[in-house]
Every structure is written in C-alpha cells, then in structure tokens.
Amino acid sequence: MLTELLQGIEAGGFLVIQDSCSYSGRHLLKSFINAALNRAEVVHVLGFDVSEEELKDGLRTSDTQRLHIHSAYTDPLGWTERPAFTVHQFRLEDLTDLVKQTPHPKPATLIIDSLSWILRHVTPPAVCKTLHQLRKGGAVRAVIGLLHADMHQRGTVGSVCHLATSLIAVAPGAKGDEAVAKITKRSKFRKVMQDEEIFSLNGDFTVTIHSKRSNPEQNWNDAEEEQVDPTAELTFNLRLSDSELEAKKKLMLPFVFSKEKLATLSQPAFLK
C-alpha cells in the first residue's frame, strides 16, 4: 500500500507521516516529495524543522520550476526583523498567498515539515481547522505533513490523524536499515484499510518494500463486527442436559423436609 500511496494521493487528500525520536520520518517524506516531482506536480515545502540545505539534500532540485521551498527554519517566531514565514501565519489566507506567489496552472501539493512545530505554538483546533480548509479550499491539491507523535499528547495526535485520509506510522525495523510502516487508508466511502509493510530507503530516497504482514488487508469495520464467543472456553456447563436435570430433581438435599422425613421426625420417640 506504501507504493500505492507513493504513486499519488487523491485530490483533497491529507497524508500524515507519524514518527518518533527512534526513527525519523523525514526521509520517507523526501521520498514523497521526489515521487510528486517525478509526476510533474508542483510542490511547495513549508520547512520548520530543518534548514533549506538539509531539506534539499537528496531532492530532485533540478526541478526548480516546480519545487518551492518556504523556509521558516531560521526565524519561525519572528525574533529577528525579517522573518520569511512565522508559525503564527499558519492560516488559510497566508498559506494560500504563499502558494499563489508562484502562479502555476495546476494546484500544488503542500508538504509540511513538521506539524509538530506548528502544534507547539498554535492550538490543535486551529491547526485542524486550517488543515481542513486547505483540503477543501482548492488552493492545494493535497497536503502531506510530518508529525512527531511522541512530542504531543495522545489526544492532539489523535485529532490530527483523524483528519488524515492516509496515515503512515513509521518505526525502526528489526534489521539495520529496515523500517516498519503501519498504513491506514480511508477511502472516500469511509472504508478503512490497514496494512503493515517492512521497507528500506535507498540513497536516492526511493523505497524498497521487503515484506508485507501475513494479514495485509483487514477492514476495521469487520474487526469490530467479529465478536469473540465469550462462552467458548468455559470450564463449566451453562445449561444442564435432560438426564442431568432429572438426576438433579431426584437429588435429596439436606434440610429439606419431605413427607417421609417429617413423618419420621414427628414420631413420639423423637418428640420426647
């Protein structure tokens, strides 16, 4: 499914690459940038985390006509006098202006490196609102964002990921340069597909898929419907069979006064 996503995200799509400090998702993000450039798409990169040089390293920078890097790295908070783009400008109007600075007939793909920087300074509802407006607004074709999941509370990560049409969570693999990608993809009809793939990145940021998990395509909805029988492994019977029921009826329990017992007890020898 990773190859499928690299081949193109649907218009209005929002892809989140979720990483942690044990494995950086930036290299996979670069794979997506290169893949988009290969498809002759216009790419705008909004960079907070790393410098423009570091971001450009390994990218197809020959496509200067279609690759536009807006570096907010040097001054993301406006501490110096001439900030290029500050984190507080993360609003629909400013982002649309940014993308439209370089007019191009086709709508562009917006890459955000990273959403974590923005989420540290802008409230999660405001970020989600902007992302939603971007998807629906039409100024950009699709949005791809990097999110350092271990830097935020679970609720914040959840609300951003909930907005995404596709989510790739990367983690280190068992072998040296391998990594595991857990992919969740929501189709237009809200069908949810999940997949887990082991991949490695080559020097030119192309992706090699090594293996898929044994149960590759599992539908979340199916998983919810599939209920486990709670009576499957009981150590006792819930109901009695007919013969057992009969045996139970025949059984005389102590301290239950049958007619015979009562007769015996009421004999004069006992009453004395």
Binding site: S24, D49, E54, D75
Partner: protein, 272 residues
C-alpha cells in the same frame, strides 16, 4: 579531552564535522564529564566557544579544564571563550546594583513567561563575535555553543516549549548559519516508563528530534560498580548519503582523575 571518545566519534581537534548538534543526556547518572570533554576539545580545536555555565561557577570549570590541559582564564582573556556564569548573573538580576551594566541575558528570571529570547540574543552576539572585533585580535575557527545544562532552565520556571524554541534558534544560528557546532546537556530523573518528570522527558524527546548525534549516559542496569561508572549510548542520526538513519553503539566507561576510558560492554580490565 578524552582521546578514546574522539576515536569513537571519529573526530579530532584538527578535523571534526561542522554543523553538528550534539545532545548529551543523562538519567540517574552524571554526564557532566562529557561537557568538560567537549569544552576542552573545542578550545584545543581553536574554535570560538560560547559557554552557558548555568550549573557551576567559572572556577569549577576552570579547575576541571586545567586537569584536562586547557586554561579557561587564558581563553577568556584572548577572546576565544565567551562565558556566561549563570550563578553570578542570576544574582545580579535578583539583587540589582546601581552600577550594574551587565547584559540582560538572564532576564527571563524576572518573568519566565517571556521566554528565552534575550538569552538567545546573548548567544548570537557571542557566536558572531559582534562587539569584539578589535584590530590585531586572533582569528578563531567555527563558533561552538555549549550549554550546561538546559534542565536548569526548566527548574527556573521556563516552559519546555520555550526551551525548545531557544535550542531551535541556537541551532539555526550556530549549526546552519555559522556552520559551527552545538553541545547541550539535559538531565532526566526517574525511569523512562515512570514519567517521573514530564517536562525534562518532553525536552529530551524534542531535542532528540533536532540533534544529529546523541550521547546518553546512564548508570549500569546491574547497579553500582567500582570499576565501571556507567554506560553511554552513542546514537548517530540523520547520516546523509548512505541511507542509514540511526546507528547506535553502547559503551561502558570509567572516569579517571584526568580523563575517562571507554570500552565495549563486558571488556573492562576489572572483569577480564
């Protein structure tokens, strides 16, 4: 300067990677010996060093430096070392004198909510060497910023987000703009799982995403040992070109009077 550590990190005062952010962290252990190593290393490499000593006095760092073969007093006189003595500076902020014309680097003490912009201004002027360009002054190599340690800022009431902003700006200036290096120490108490101190854990994660090399010092899992003082995990991140993302190595160490020895696990001379 520890030669064994230099060979592990593949660096020497004559040749070392520029533009690196080295994160030194410790957990239930003391990693300050590494700060002394890097201080003496960069002074020997004839770098211009800006040192934020927030934990100890200048005399302390000078005394340790002399054991490692560098004189901080001389370096300061020559203009190679710019030293911010946090303990003294904080006192002059808290008890202002009339004739006190000290810089306002520690202004955040009055109101931690304002953030660390003034401290960053001090670092920037220290690294770029503005105001000390006297004629005939010696030329120094790439600028280096050393901080001992960032966790103190949290104790002084500064928010984790503000410290991360500060480190981001320092990295943008020291590593990217000036092609120098940066070394920062962070202390974590308690176990990783326990979430003992949320602020410093979050800070460590945030800095781990920013750094290019991480040295994590911790005590031995088996407890105190006279001949092995602990273990240090060396983690290289974002190695470009070879497709490798993170490479980790674990060493055990022993700190001596005038240095430290590093060895692979289980190969201490006391064991073999």
């Amino acid at each position: 300067m520890f030669t064994e550590l230099n060979s592990i990190l593949n660096a020497s005062p004559d040749s070392f990677t520029q533009g690196e952010f080295i994160l030194v962290s410790d957990r239930q252990s003391d990693a300050s010996f590494l700060i002394h190593h890097f201080l003496s290393f960069y002074l020997r490499a004839r770098c211009r060093v800006c040192f934020l000593g927030l934990v100890q006095s200048f005399c302390h760092y000078n005394a340790v430096g002399q054991r490692l073969g560098v004189s901080l007093t001389q370096a300061k006189e020559k203009g190679q070392l710019i030293f911010l003595e946090g303990l003294k500076e904080s006192l002059s902020i808290l008890i202002p004198h009339e004739n006190n014309t000290e810089h306002q680097a520690m202004n955040f003490l009055r109101d931690p909510a304002v953030g660390l912009r003034s401290l960053y201004e001090f670092v920037r002027s220290g690294l770029t060497g503005s105001g000390s360009s006297e004629e005939g002054a010696e030329e120094w190599g790439p600028p280096v910023l050393l901080v001992d340690d960032l966790s103190v800022l949290l104790s002084l009431g500064v928010g984790t987000g503000a410290v991360l902003d500060f480190s981001h700006y320092c990295r943008a200036t020291a590593c990217s703009q000036l092609q120098g290096n940066m070394v920062m120490l962070v202390r974590c108490n308690g176990d990783e799982e326990e979430d003992g101190d949320e602020g410093s854990e979050w800070l460590l994660k945030g800095l781990s995403h920013q750094c290019s090399l991480a040295l994590h010092v911790q005590g031995l899992p088996t407890g105190y040992c006279k001949d092995i003082h602990g273990q240090v995990e060396v983690c290289w991140r974002m190695r470009q070109g070879d497709g490798q993302h993170t490479q980790k190595k674990l060493f055990q160490y022993k700190v001596h009077d005038k240095g430290a020895s590093f060895f692979a696990r289980g190969t201490s001379s006391a064991v073999l």
